[in-house]
Amino acid sequence: MSDLILKNLSKRFGEKEVLSPFTLEVKDRSFLALLGPSGCGKTTLLRIVAGLERPSGGEIWLGSRMLFGQMPHQASGASSSTTVEVPPEDRGLGMVFQSYAVWPHMTVEENVRYPLDIQASRASKRSIDNSSKKPLTLDQRQEACEKALSLVHLLELKDRYPHQLSGGQQQRVALARGLAVEPPILLLDEPLSNLDAKLRSEMRREIREIHRKLNMTILYVTHDQREAFEMATDVVILNAGAIAQKGTPSEILKAPNPGFVTEFLSES
């Protein structure tokens, strides 16, 4: 029902074209991995979807709801249009940042609780127009918070402050915070980059499990091929701001485009 559609989207920083115009359709409930070398524009693409960066052109749609683009005026002829730009807080997404962005003045539990509390207070004011979710009660929020924390094995550390945690533990706090509200679309920017091999494969399983159970759409940025091909239902390979190939993992592995993709996949 609500596919994420990026139409002719492009991004320039000054003179520099970071994303050249491309079109991408992310099917509802799919798990899309964005794969590419460092600096190819993966984070930028994610931030544009989240509403943190304004695209230089193009449109973003979530189902029938325009998140960014030019909306033509129906009344006054075709020539005029208004810019639609839904601010990040009204897009109803979840995101896990590459830099974790764990709030240092809140405990682990408070970090994970924050989005839940905000959503509850907003839902009771009915300010998110597209969701008719009932506000969660205090108990339900507590439960959701603990569920998310146990998912990332941090329940025992819930009263610690971030500076008392290791890098990998902070990363898991960020993951729990993104998962707790069970958003329809979850944006993950290299969420496992700082974990050891064992924990990483465990988390991979958990994320796939969550994806199946909660029926959410996931956009997953990584430069780790194994991660992408093991978890995703669709893979997009980016090269210098352009899509080099897209398809299901098996399609790409079977017939990688000659040139960049073949080369990129052969290095590991």
């Binding site: 730009e85 979840g94 995101m95 830099s99 500076h163 915070r177």
Partner: protein, 497 residues
Amino acid sequence: MSVLLEATLRSVQISLITAMVSGLLGVVLAWLVSRTEFTSRKTVASLLSVPYALPPYLLGMAWVVLGNPTVGILRAFLPSNGAYGTLGICFVLSSVAFAFPYLELRAGFDRLDSSLEEAARISGASPVKVFRDISLPLLWPALVNGMCLAFLYALASFGVPAILGLPVRQFVLTTLIYSQLKLGGQAGLIEGFKISLLLLTIAACALGFSHYLTSLKNRLGASISGARSSRPSRIQLGRLAPLVMSVTWLWILLTLVLPWIALTLSALAPIAGSYSPSTFTLRNLSYVLNLADFHEALVNSAVLSVSVASLVVLLGFCLGFLSVRKKKPWASRLIRFFGIPFATPGTVLAFFIIFIFSTLARLGFNADYPLLLMAIAYTLKYAAVGANSLETAYTQIHPSLEEAARISGARTVKLLSTIWAPLLKQSMKAAWLLAFLPLATELTMSVLLTGPGSATLGTVLFQLQEYADQPSAAALAWMLLTLALVIGLMTRKKEIY
């Protein structure tokens, strides 16, 4: 009520109001220019740092011109007292002192990893909520420090309460010390000593209280910085953008442009209050330029400010090396010690110097060298500026740069002259300006220490103003304000993002 009690209450009241207003303005303005987008944002951002370089009493004089109850240009818009009295003093002080919290918070926002705020927005929090729940708690220490600086600044200010308070016989502690000393004699000295101790106590309490407030929430410390994303996503103000733009420009107009226009008109007017272009004259300007006192003051101020600024930078350069690179504990202790005279109100510092030297004089030492006393006072007051900024600069440069030269055989003097001096050139320049600008127009300490043959720009101006020669005072003030504005505009921080 006794004069002393009244002055104490007024001092505290003025300082509290100034700190509050400055804090509020600083927070709002810093947030607007650091985190939102509106037309002319970059220009606004860099203009807001200019008042920092202005001597506040020049603005006070401008507001006398604007807000004099009988002949002021804007008197129709002001209360019956005009710009005189507590409210006027608070306004003029705030128009400079807001720069302390503003600059502290700008630096804070620059250090703050903006993805912390972005994460909250994606969680659904509105910009106001993000500010309340994330930015403000994390920038709390910066805000408290900025407000504390504004409080101390207002508490220690002498020129503004003298110009806007004395004509309506409203004393604050600094102007009370001044008038006690003007009475002269042993009684004045003892009375001044008592008030100085009182002023010092209030300053120490304010510092202690701000330390307490920052320690409350300062468990984050280093974690604020770290991996920060390339640049913050700015909040689009939408329909509010024109409003925000007009209000910020109105503030700049009120605090920078209007005072300059007022002094220009007043400098050109033949008598105070006659501002029609047909009668404009250059007589005031040429009168001041030919004044013997002015020539003397120009030389004194130039020599004093250039030499003291150079001295404190040199001192900082050496002490920083000894403290950071040679790890000498006495050097770092001395640098910490300089913080005390820096935080001491200038009036009190000057008073103690007078007190010590007049005691020496009674013991038979001849201590009647006002210029020397001024040089001592200036150096004590501004030593911290050179020492702190250069100590920080030393810690920011990787020791391997020095070690590479040491391995090549360079000794201490060679190291300082060929490695550290070139590396620290920018920091030394900045520290020099930071000491030179306020010293060139110093008033608070000079007015107490001055004597025959030792006029400075500040004291000449103060005398002209006190003897109610307003057109000549305005002419001199106009020259100084123009110069300060030019320097301030030239050295203002450029905005990158």
